[in-house]
């Protein structure tokens, strides 16, 4: 698999599961701050990138396994994850073993969400982004068309990508987690610090 194909693989097999993962981490591991979650996700992507994709049967399962592993490392090293939450880490196993493709948010819904996110970008930023992504103009052509420098084009695109990426990762798909957590776990959702 060449490098562009590897990015496409990540886009197809890992990205769709990020919002769910973040939602889960936020709810279950309250000791983690948003920065910690960002750290975890970035570490996870780095590890996954190093893997041989051909051997990965389910991107979702692999993502969760990777995160579980990282959490265990963090917990051992630095007590960032309080020890009583290790039980929660184990429940990641249960989730990760479910196959997930049919639970993916419908493509249409996802795109509707993207539209809203894009619409919320500042006007010039949005126009640059749309000319590049929707109209397929090169950076240079976008710059010429709008009478701005290529550096400015880069700045706008950077802002657009950072915002869209963050929004997509944070806004969980509709229906979110309730249907993906092991049902036995849901009963004690509010009371897991019992040891």
């Amino acid at each position: 698999m060449d490098v562009p194909a590897r990015y496409r693989w990540i886009a197809a097999n890992i990205l769709p599961h990020e919002p769910e993962l973040r939602g889960w981490l936020r709810r279950r591991l309250r000791a983690l701050g948003d920065n910690d979650i960002d750290d975890l996700v970035q570490e996870a992507f780095a590890r996954i990138w190093a893997a041989d994709f051909a051997t990965i049967r389910s991107g979702r399962a692999y993502l969760y396994a990777t995160v579980r592993h990282l959490l265990a490392e963090y917990a051992r090293r630095s007590r960032i994850v309080p020890i009583e939450l290790l039980g929660e880490i184990d429940s990641l196993n249960l989730i990760s073993e479910e196959p997930g493709p049919e639970r993916r948010v419908a493509a249409r819904q996802e795109l509707d969400r993207l539209r809203v996110i894009v619409a919320a970008l500042p006007v010039q930023c949005r126009t640059v982004f749309e000319l590049r992504k929707f109209e397929g103009l090169s950076h240079r052509d976008v710059a010429t068309r709008m009478g701005i420098s290529e550096k400015t084009v880069e700045n706008h695109l950077t802002r657009a990508l950072a915002r869209i990426g963050a929004a997509l990762a944070t806004l969980p798909p509709t229906g979110e987690l309730t249907h993906s957590e092991p049902s036995a776990k849901r009963a004690d959702d509010t009371d897991h610090g019992n040891d």
Partner: protein, 364 residues
């Protein structure tokens, strides 16, 4: 843990955008390598940003007349070219508030535009025969191409498809040579938009519809407005302009309807649920979508989009139902998901991936 997270994500986004601009220069490349090597989170953030950037390409497929306004005067605008005499259909979508873009062209407006088709029919059928000086558009396997036509219409080509276009004063003459295409037709009362696929002609003025040409049949799915489907098989001896329209099998197909014109049968028109139409047209977003179709059907569909092919030898497995939304070009992802869902194995075998029933047991 750290307060630099925003910076990491943003830097990663910047590097992804630079990579998008073209190959990095040697200095930039070195700078990137240094940054990536400094912290494993940098690598992860960068991979994530690159993947997100790629993922956003699916957005492009959305940009038809309905979503195409893009709030920007730079972008060619189907709606903008509508004649002033059509206030209802014109101007919708132009300068629409960004958050309303998705719904800019309301169903009703498009319907109003499309219905005008009816009054136009009867202008002779010379449009069936003319052919010369045409434009040709093709898409490769796995490619979905959006093409803005000079009349303001949009053409979205599905995988491995070919369309020719010819403009005359009287009509917009399109031919689907192979594959599948979605047409979002700019309104022009004076020039009907005619798509011919094999023995079927579809005639519209301003509307949106998809035509798919298979060996056995032609499928027409209308998403907005109304079109007329003419079954040319019913022509008696190809007598051109002199043949009265009434001699042809003409079917009216409205939004949320689907027509099948099989080789050996008269056209059949039936309602299609919006959800089903969306699934059939999931390729607009680079996806394929199944809701209980057999594995065999699903594999045939996904194979259309890929050079590498999936093979299912086992008939019982081939008959199992598949549910899910998949990226059309992600053959590996589809086979892995199908294998997981159907307790099968996906075995790479040279040019193909074989899906086989799981042997009774013994896995590590």
């Amino acid at each position: 843990m750290t307060q630099t997270m925003e910076t990491i994500s943003e830097l990663a986004a910047r590097w992804a955008v630079r990579a998008d601009a073209g190959a990095l220069g040697p200095d930039e490349q070195r700078e990137l390598e240094t940054w990536l090597a400094a912290d494993s989170r940098h690598r992860g953030a960068y991979v994530r940003a690159r993947a997100q950037w790629v993922d956003l390409d699916r957005l492009a497929a959305l940009q038809g007349p309905a979503g195409g306004a893009v709030g920007s005067s730079f972008v060619a605008q189907p709606a903008a070219e509508k004649p002033a005499s059509e206030p209802a259909a014109a101007s919708a979508g132009v300068g629409a508030r960004p958050e309303a873009r998705a719904a800019a062209l309301s169903r009703r407006q498009l319907l109003a535009a499309g219905i005008a088709v009816i009054g136009v029919l009867g202008g002779g059928l010379s449009w069936l025969i003319l052919r010369e000086g045409q434009e040709r558009y093709t898409s490769g396997i796995g490619e979905v191409r959006r093409i803005a036509l000079e009349d303001g219409s949009t053409l979205l080509l599905n995988t491995a498809s070919e369309v020719t276009v010819r403009w005359t004063k009287e009509q917009r003459d399109i031919r689907l040579v192979r594959g599948e295409a979605l047409f979002e037709v700019a309104h022009d009362n004076s020039r009907p938009f005619i798509v011919q696929a094999s023995d079927t002609a579809v005639r519209a003025v301003g509307t949106a519809f998809a035509v798919r040409l298979d060996a056995a049949q032609v499928d027409v799915t209308v998403t907005e407005g109304v079109v007329e489907v003419v079954d040319l098989k019913t022509m008696s001896g190809l007598g051109p302009a002199t043949t009265p329209v009434s001699r042809f099998e003409v079917k009216r197909v409205a939004a949320h309807e689907h027509a099948v014109i099989a080789r050996s049968r008269a056209p059949e028109v039936e309602p299609i649920a919006p959800a089903k139409a969306d699934r059939q047209l999931a390729w607009r977003e680079g996806m394929v979508s199944f809701d209980g179709e057999t594995l065999q059907t699903a594999v045939a569909e996904i194979n259309r989009h890929n050079r590498r092919q999936i093979v299912v030898d086992d008939p019982a497995l081939a008959a199992m139902p598949i549910v899910g939304v998949f990226r059309a070009t992600d053959l590996e992802g589809f086979s892995a998901a199908a294998a997981a869902a159907l307790k099968a194995r996906a075995i790479p075998d040279g040019d193909v991936i074989r899906l086989q029933p799981e042997p009774s047991k013994t896995l590590k």
